[in-house]
Symmetry: D2
Subunit: 355 residues, 4 copies
Amino acid sequence: MSSMWGNKVKISLFGESHGVGIGVVIDGLPSGIDIDMQLVTEMMERRAPGRYSGSTSRKEPDIPKVMSGLYRGKTTGTPLCAVIENTDTRSSDYEKTAMKPRPGHADLTGMARYGGANDPRGGGHFSARIMAGFTFAGAVCRQILEKKGVKIFSHIYSISNIEDEPYNPVEMPSDVSRKSFPVLDEAKGLQMQECIIEASRQLDSVGGIVECMATGFPAGLGRPIFGNIESRLASILYAIPAVKGVEFGSGFEVARSRGSINNDHPHFFDNGIRLRSNHAGGVEGGISNGMPVLFRCAFKPTPSIAQAQDTVNLDAMKNDTIEIRGRHDACVVPRALPIVEAAAAICLLDVFEEG
Amino acid sequence: MSSMWGNKVKISLFGESHGVGIGVVIDGLPSGIDIDMQLVTEMMERRAPGRYSGSTSRKEPDIPKVMSGLYRGKTTGTPLCAVIENTDTRSSDYEKTAMKPRPGHADLTGMARYGGANDPRGGGHFSARIMAGFTFAGAVCRQILEKKGVKIFSHIYSISNIEDEPYNPVEMPSDVSRKSFPVLDEAKGLQMQECIIEASRQLDSVGGIVECMATGFPAGLGRPIFGNIESRLASILYAIPAVKGVEFGSGFEVARSRGSINNDHPHFFDNGIRLRSNHAGGVEGGISNGMPVLFRCAFKPTPSIAQAQDTVNLDAMKNDTIEIRGRHDACVVPRALPIVEAAAAICLLDVFEEG
Amino acid sequence: MSSMWGNKVKISLFGESHGVGIGVVIDGLPSGIDIDMQLVTEMMERRAPGRYSGSTSRKEPDIPKVMSGLYRGKTTGTPLCAVIENTDTRSSDYEKTAMKPRPGHADLTGMARYGGANDPRGGGHFSARIMAGFTFAGAVCRQILEKKGVKIFSHIYSISNIEDEPYNPVEMPSDVSRKSFPVLDEAKGLQMQECIIEASRQLDSVGGIVECMATGFPAGLGRPIFGNIESRLASILYAIPAVKGVEFGSGFEVARSRGSINNDHPHFFDNGIRLRSNHAGGVEGGISNGMPVLFRCAFKPTPSIAQAQDTVNLDAMKNDTIEIRGRHDACVVPRALPIVEAAAAICLLDVFEEG
Amino acid sequence: MSSMWGNKVKISLFGESHGVGIGVVIDGLPSGIDIDMQLVTEMMERRAPGRYSGSTSRKEPDIPKVMSGLYRGKTTGTPLCAVIENTDTRSSDYEKTAMKPRPGHADLTGMARYGGANDPRGGGHFSARIMAGFTFAGAVCRQILEKKGVKIFSHIYSISNIEDEPYNPVEMPSDVSRKSFPVLDEAKGLQMQECIIEASRQLDSVGGIVECMATGFPAGLGRPIFGNIESRLASILYAIPAVKGVEFGSGFEVARSRGSINNDHPHFFDNGIRLRSNHAGGVEGGISNGMPVLFRCAFKPTPSIAQAQDTVNLDAMKNDTIEIRGRHDACVVPRALPIVEAAAAICLLDVFEEG
């Protein structure tokens, strides 16, 4: 546990937001697979700041340096490590407020967990910046899955109360990953962007939901009881900062449904048995059923906001207020898409390789 | 993975619905703790059928036989195994339909996973009956947590579109576990029961949501990035059959909220720092913050319904219909409460013992 | 860790020597494999007392009751649990000496570990009796390995300073498992038996070495650095009570050898590349090389001896003596063979299934 | 598994001998502990080549760059990653012989394992060079253990058939780690060095044994059955290249001993109960008993020797010979001491932190 995850394909994340560098070790990759570093970089850039208005102005080139695990462009099968040096760290933004824990952050809990020894600068190991290494790992795993016919898609499902068109749960969706604001319905995307800018203007932030789908994942993978796909996906998704809800298929809507409607019925189609609907999100009894794996996760509003907030002052040992002036997105959702896809890729490759 | 779960306190589940017996091994319990078997039995009975109208008529005495791990009424610290023999198994209910996979069940996926070798009777190892051993483990872990001041509560949050009063996220709730239909608002409980009976009359089923809270859990437990409390709770909760959504604190509602509202603000109260709200559900950055741990899980409608449903016939290799005549609840939620509490108890004890 | 072991095929052991029962859960077995329970019982009987002179008179029928995981004689792929009830437990043998820790046993360390809460009767969970469940698991795994062409052999390599003929490291050995005293050289076997009887007469005990070989194990399995076959075999072998040394191939003799002699040289034979010697014991760089996997483990003399021994009295808090009158073998080695084979079978199946 | 090890304190090793760099991630360290990087460097330098005659001439500065996990000189509690760039790599030494697997190396098994995709240069991930990261991790863990009163010692127990004075198993030994050739008996040390030089002159190599002791390790740590200290130490020790035997306390000698002699008898001394001997090597029933933890491991002769050896030629598909001209020690034992100490430190800290 801790900062390692996986069964057969394991990742080990390290780094602090304002330390020397961050990175990831990926252990258990299949050997002899070509990895296109250009595609890796592209996926990582989708997580980088500055792609859409309202995004933080921090400039991180985030060029991963591969230390091991690739030989002549192919996976060796032995651990692949990538390191990303931290270059643009302005710690002074944070240090002056070190004794005033930021509401909605892990400042207080991190202090409790580590007796005050953890690196507090920019959230340290709790920072979303650690997700750069995670995204790298996902970009590698995704390429391996693609060679097996598995494709991963995501879009912004909602920002605040503005909803994009949902994925059709039984079909491969269109790929919007190259859009600067990845939605299916452009008009809704514009409304969402306005909503984020408006929140930013009000020194506030908004949340949203990411929807993700994996197509081509074969039936019969995953294991009861605890090795099931939903447990494993939820486990890795909740490691993404700001995620507060995870649901599969029809998700929380199942609570309002009826068995006659919610059951997915097997049917002989021309090319074999498939289900006629996908309320289950591709997983029945924890095992893949051959339908698209479909899930959504809810992201809370960025906790760092510029307006004054109540907090405590641990120096003065009294109540106080804080205004967070650093570089922060008014909504984490747009940059979260590649992270969610990375989680899906790492997890599904782990399940796949387990056989 | 597979049917084992945990880090420091580990459980290993075994058994098939209509096999010789089911049970659990719990490894890593602290030693020297008194276990009241009467309380264990009471918690298990809350999972047993027949407690409320609409429940299956299967009679399972479900008397756990403790094989090891208790000596003179106390935990030894070495593995505690409990076995429950299967006594009331009417396999013929199932065998005649073995080649017609039940929609919404793991019949097809289990077959794919195990090449047809898994025990198909009553869902075999996929059956919710396996949760009897899980509930036993939870009942043991809960007693250990209670000695540390941690209490676990749950109630039926909703059935179909009827909602109980939610828990106040910053207060210890009232304990409704001894009610035959555990809700806070009795009038809503009656409506829910009518809703279930009505669904049953229509040979259909309904879903619902369970809300669960743990109070007294100390701050500073759990670990970033993957050893966080949300990942671990979600991982164990998704092992419960029929769960399709898990959310913490304000859950999916955070997507519609704003940072200024959703952030929980630290404040000096008379007895030290606490947060003034609990949108985070007691977990910030994956670490407990001392507030009640609060989560909800969505249960799908019971997939076994008596009306004719489309499915495939694997003998005849053609489309067919199935009517499921066995003993099934029209809603799994009421019996799911002790299972959800068990999941919380096992997970939080694991996190607690990890230190 | 604790009482669970394995990566892909995992076992969970439970039970105390004089508790209600003992047993094992095996998780991750391949599905659809025929298991011959008669063969399982035969392997377990080789561990049972009373097969050769000098053995304890405790009569344990040790009939495993399979609770789950087998359906119509085949593995289901879901957890296989077997329970063995303890029937012939004479706890009074032990209780009177409970406060006088037996030298060479885990009485003191168990007390330290569990704060005195562990079951002290007959060593509780530390008892070699727990190896009955372990042997059951090994007997199941062995049958699955045999279907893949892997065979496991062992013999008594030495008792005290009397040595059997060693295995030829490059050839399949003869199977002596059905002998009541399993050695290659009968004359040496008789001397060994005399040695054990002589020790017993002197109220003493002797140690010895078991040699074990697995043939037919394919090349290319296991993983660097920590998933290597030697680490995994050593890890499971040291879980067997009384093992104090484990070596592979030429073992400790390599320290006296030279590179020119100790290196195994690859050579094209008629049926492909093999090595011309097997000093490595079938494992190079932690990975199987296709040669027989060969190892030895040293067992200490039975710590329970009937002569007076110095110990402490924890009631009186003073030095004291103890005479251990229970039923004990003067040498554990003969009964250890099936346990060592079980360890090899469980481990090699785990490595095999990992792929 | 694979290249990750540990339960509570986990390490993840990465790197190939001639790749960009190697390193280690250490997860689960206690927080707030001062780490003296000078001491870390000193321990790593003991592994570096060139300290004694007969050592390889490869010059590796091996300066670890700490990427994360230290803040103001103390452990943060979050993952500590150190990276060591490979600077002095002369791959051409190896590439011309790539298709002639070196006897005694993992060339053939690595090829089988990874389908030929692994980095073959200098053994790639199988190279003893990976132990630099391992030694770094050990040097960190050792400092944390020392603050808890645990000290780790080792010496060259034997080279070929020349034996140093053994450790007295019940006493803290003298620290010879700063000697250029670390033995207790200087005269024997000179003989050993001559023996190594002589082997080198004959284009051959010799093996030897390392003895290691940890003092001050408290009683009651480790767990039955598989979480025992011997299993865990053996597991990590067998990950060190060239180890072919591991034994605890009296080790293989127990096989020739008698219970009356081999049992360690508890006794009230002035400062409490201790054992009067330490045949068990500080571990009884897998749990520490408060006596020094004592073990030995046998190292095979360096497989790389300059004389002609038989092997196969995979290009020509015929038998061939190989002469290995690279930079190699004629005996790995002297440089193995800090690696063995590192293994002990990592393992014992893991056991300690598990509690």
